[in-house]
């Protein structure tokens, strides 16, 4: 991947407000004191449930896409389209389906000059980045790789996710949630595991898009946690520790309580999202804003979020949507990453992880990539593993 940088998510300008709990779902509102006016998002519901986007002549991306976002920006800049992004229909054809996506950005630059509107499909931009991770397959034709892996790469590549409506309790939690004045975002916890973060530029956008969280995709982990979790407790205010002799003292203690909560949330609860480094790839420039997607480092047994952002010229987030990968998805990403780092040399990747080649091959197979290895070699590894060598 070219033009790739490592960044952290910068939520400057957003303050954490007290959480609201409903069953196993905890919703933490993020409030913006200074709304961003020159970038606005709105929702577009698609009639059909499936949508196929042709990425190039040979690659098709088919997905359940219940809704799309349309970003409008006001400063006069030349819109540039990118990999995986869907353009808005021109104003004179409002009902027209989204444009097919072509792969080379320069051509689109020429086509879309002058329009200050961009339609994109929330989360799919990010997910597609994950699916397309090392999609081309082995870069060097080592003997272990099967013909299929060499010719067609990882294709077909599929991942599973759950629609928000099937995450238990989420619909009710979103219904009874009381939106704060100035609220521009939400951190969504299921059984106190950060499931998603959602930030928009303007409070009015948030109000309109609040329910769209129900149409989003959630990983297997989130779905299972929601199904199995017991209700989570409220973090109730507690003023017992502060000495209070007057109403002013009491007011001070209340302020401290709120600051403590915000600090606790940002540094403890959301740490997995905010303190991690992301591989960041800009995909579209919109005036002073940049639409990009980010991928995690695929650290096994840890929180891994991927997502998409729109950031301003200072790198502050105007729009954010994240997806929490489930453990097996993290493992797949991790394995592919390691392989790619060693130019798809099985022995080198195995050595880095401190396991034998056979173990690594079996791990690949368990992760669903068995078809990438030549059958006879895989059988050989299996036998070696059985014999304990």
């Amino acid at each position: 991947m070219t033009n790739r940088t490592t960044v952290r998510l910068d939520l400057t300008g957003l303050t954490t407000r007290p959480a609201q709990v409903w069953g196993g779902v905890r919703l933490v509102p993020l409030v913006r004191h200074q709304p961003i006016d020159d970038l606005r998002l709105h929702q577009e519901l698609f009639g059909e449930e499936h949508r196929t986007v042709l990425l190039d002549r040979r690659t098709a991306y088919t997905a359940y896409i219940p809704h799309g976002f349309v970003a409008d920006w006001t400063c006069d800049r030349t819109p540039a389209a990118a990999y995986g992004t869907q353009f808005a229909a021109p104003a004179d054809r409002p009902g027209a389906p989204p444009e097919r996506i072509r792969i080379r950005p320069p051509r689109r630059l020429a086509q879309r000059a002058g329009a200050d509107r961009l339609r994109f499909v929330p989360l799919h931009l990010a997910l597609e980045g994950y699916l397309a991770l090392h999609f081309g397959g082995p870069t060097i034709a080592w003997e272990e790789w099967s013909q299929q892996a060499l010719r067609r790469g990882l294709s077909p590549r599929a991942e599973e996710a759950y629609a928000g409506a099937s995450v238990r309790g989420l619909a009710d939690a979103l219904r009874v949630f009381e939106i704060h004045p100035g609220q521009c975002g939400l951190a969504l916890y299921v059984a106190d595991a950060l499931a998603a973060a959602f930030v928009v530029p303007h409070p009015d956008d948030y109000r309109a898009l609040h329910r769209s969280l129900l149409l989003d995709l959630y990983g297997e982990l989130v779905h299972h946690y929601a199904l199995l979790a017991a209700p989570v407790p409220d973090f109730r205010a507690d003023l017992r520790s502060s000495p209070i002799r007057s109403l002013a003292d009491l007011r001070g203690a209340v302020d401290r309580q709120e600051q403590q909560w915000a600090a606790f949330h940002d540094h403890t609860m959301a740490e997995g999202l905010l303190a991690a480094d992301y591989r960041h790839r800009p995909v579209h420039r919109m005036g002073r804003f940049t639409l990009s997607r980010f991928l995690p480092d695929f650290r096994p047994k840890q929180e891994n979020h991927l997502g998409e952002t729109i950031t301003d010229e200072h790198g502050r987030i105007a729009y954010l949507k994240t997806f929490r990968l489930s453990e097996s998805q993290v493992r797949r990403g991790h394995l592919l990453d390691r392989l790619s780092a060693h130019d798809w040399r099985l022995s080198a990747a195995a050595a880095e992880l401190g396991i034998t080649e056979a173990q690594f091959a079996l791990r690949l197979e368990a992760a669903g990539f068995g078809h990438l290895l030549r059958q006879d070699i895989l059988d050989h590894y299996r036998r070696r593993h059985r014999e304990g060598r």
Binding site: P18, E178, F235, L247
Partner: protein, 494 residues
Amino acid sequence: MDGYGDLIAAEDVLLFVNAAITATGQREFHAGAAEQQLSLSFLHAYMLGNYREPYAAALALDINDHNAALIIRGLLESAAEATAEQRRTEGRLIARRLALLPPQRVYRLFGELRRAKVNNRRTRAILREWLAARPDQTLDAVKYRAGLKQALRHAHLPAAAAETGAFLFGPAARGRFEAPLLDAWRRAHYQQSALYELPYTVAEGFARTHRIPRATFLERITPQLTRLERLRLQESARGAGVDSVRADAVELGRMPLTRLASYVLGLAPADRLARRTELTAALRTAARRAAGAEAGQWGRVAAVLDDSFSSSGSGAKRRRPLAVALACHFLLEALAGRYTGLWTSGRTDALLARPTGPTPLGRRILDALDTAPDRLLIVSDGWDNAPPGLAAEVLRVWRTRLDPDHRTSIVHLNPVYDAEGFDVRRLAPTVPTAGLRDAEDLPALVEFARFAEGRTDLTELTAHLAARTARFLAGPGSPAGRTTGANSEPGEDT
């Protein structure tokens, strides 16, 4: 009973009274109708089985009509379990309460008794007495045809007049009636002009069969409308281009306070602004009437009123919690010497109240305590969420550290029944919480709320209930503190 048992009994009774005031078995913001009904029916069964006397005595309190009907039904269904003395008191309480219930509710109750096959001698006697006390049976025969028919059949009673009997039970095709209302009903089947002699609810059905345009119908039915029907139809009539239904400011001022508040909240903000003087005057008039002799007697009063998103209620109870809060705002303004009303959203214009935003009760309570009030009233559904539990902490600290000698009396009034907790949601153990249905009941409830503060004494509570029962049975008009029942007209929908 030992002291511990007494304590539990008193708590149970208080809990039930709170539930009976607020719960209607309808969908609320946080819970569905089924949950509400399940929770409420458990409470009724529990009370009837364990505390029959306080259960019956609840009829004398300001409980809502839904629960009154449930209690009456419960008592009549289990008449065999009561002693002779209990039955006597219950009979009087039931008769008194039935007289105050709107007729359509009573007819529905009779229907339920019929379906439950409750037809003991006592039930029949109660039915007979209630029917005999109805001012005009021909009106009932037309307006509540199915209900009356069912009631007469269930109690084996003849109709008051032979003609009414023929109207209800006779064959459909027959000649003219002597009573003008019955004859109008007969003629309305084929003659459009006759339906304007009928009550509105009946005429509406005929208007549909005759395909009369809504505007024409409303224009001509106006003289037949009861006061509440007029209030209810005003806006839809205006939409249809009919101006005759409109109630003027004087008429609005005569409406019950909470209903008026509901009406005001149903108007678009632009309308509220345009009619500000008229609406404010009407609300003030209604509040002054509800305050009665106590107006201006309450000293410095501060109120924290909940206009968070959850006060929007549900599809079944639109903006009800907010309407109650708005009504309380105007009532407290009338009761207080100096009044400060604080909305949770921070808005200051009560007339433009809108259910949005979170519930930062703790901070608003702090703001209210800053004004050093004699009384602090909190009207909220108790879902304190910004941050959760802050209100409880502020109230606890205030009570224990800053105001240990109770210079400020604090009461939390909650208009929403919490199905999960079998009670209204409380803010803090140190502050009494009472259920609230109509703002008009507020003075009586504040008096009642003292029982919910700390450890309740059962004897005191029983004495209070006995006094209320005696007052209720002797009183000519209405349950104490209740003004809506007193001025309802016969045959009027409430």
